[in-house]
Amino acid sequence: MATAENADKIIRALKRAGVNFVASLPDASLVPLVEGFEKDNDIIHVPLSREEEGVGVCTGANLGGKRCALMMQNAGLLNACNALTTTARQIEIPMLLLVLYAGALNDMAFPMLGLVTEPVLAALGIPHYVLDNLDDAPNLFAGALVQAYNAQRPVAVLMMKGVL
């Protein structure tokens, strides 16, 4: 069960990495994070209705100087593939993809999603890292953002349900 305490640690780690703009869609496990972003005065939060528009929203905000994260479940990552390719990769826009890794190790939901997630990211040329220990969040988010800006592309952090 996702907790507000864990969400708070993740949000602090994102803020330490300089994230000040988040676009999101919820998942049951992401509810405390969505609520945390809504309350946070240092982060502009955009609640989306489909993940692909989030790539555009983060691209517009990035052009305006914001450091952006797009949070979604991995089903949403698949929804976002065209914009990730023809906007984020084609135009070279850095952003952090915070992806709930459904169907992964020990998770009973959406087994097919769990299988295709990492191969799809690899095909899109998007580096990805798995967050399976909350203590790693600060270094992983910061490192992923440095890589995103250095390689001028999105970088994904796949969050296991256990860390939420």
Binding site: R16, A17, G18, F21, A23, I44, V46, P47, L48, S49, R50, E52, E53, G54, V55, G56, V57, C58, T59, G60, A61, N62, L63, G64, G65, K66, R67, C68, N82, A83, T86, T87, Q90, I91, E92, I93, A142, L145, V146, Y149, N150
Partner: protein, 205 residues
């Protein structure tokens, strides 16, 4: 009304406003009406409302415009839904509705049949929605959008241009386009916006 004459009639109202422009002939038309580094060529069909929203939230003190088409806007109706929810006061979204996919073979869009795109904007709750089909009403709608708080959603019925859309893809490099637009934003804002990788690295303590 032709799209090109609508753009020429209103270009001065835009001033130095950054504009996201959808794929196809509107890019050429707008580049002729208002040649500027502040014109950004979209790549993902339908992404205009989304990029416009993102930049509008990042620069709430400045009007941000989106020049869109009917085929594009109905590919990302979600973008309207989110604009209706977030209500960015500084966003001006203009849709030229020629009722065909003009840049990809002139096949009719849903607006040639039963769809009313302006009603989509109203249903999404976008504060200011206008549907226009002549030059005077279009000019008045654009002036209203620059003079008042929005978000504004203007749907302009236009005739197909009858021109060849393939020419609109010449002289474009997306990454160069990003840097040109980025430097333009920095110039009109008078501050640094683009973060180099080293800026990001050094900012993390």
């Amino acid at each position: 009304m032709k799209r090109k004459e609508a753009l020429f009639a209103t270009r001065e109202l835009f001033g130095d406003t950054p504009c996201f422009v959808t794929v196809g002939l509107v890019w050429l038309d707008w580049g002729t009406a208002r040649p500027s580094d502040g014109n950004f060529h979209l790549k993902t069909l339908g992404s205009g409302s989304s990029l416009g929203l993102g930049l509008a939230l990042a620069m709430p003190h400045r009007k941000i415009a989106v020049l869109d088409g009917d085929g594009a806007v109905i590919m990302n109706v979600n973008g309207l839904v989110t604009v209706g929810r977030v209500q960015p006061r500084n966003l001006i979204h203009i849709v030229f509705d020629n009722k065909i996919y003009e840049s990809s073979g002139c096949i009719p869009t849903a607006s040639a049949y039963n769809l009313d795109i302006a009603e989509l904007g109203k249903a999404a709750g976008i504060k200011s929605v206008r549907k226009v089909s002549d030059l005077a009403a279009f000019s008045a709608a654009v002036k209203h959008a620059f003079d008042t708080d929005g978000p504004h959603f203007i749907v302009a019925t236009v005739e197909p241009s009858g021109e060849d859309a393939n020419t609109s893809y010449s002289r474009l490099n997306e990454v160069e386009g990003k840097f040109v637009f980025s430097r333009y934003l920095e110039k009109i804002e008078g501050r640094k916006l683009r973060e180099d990788p080293i800026d990001v690295r050094l900012s993390i303590r």
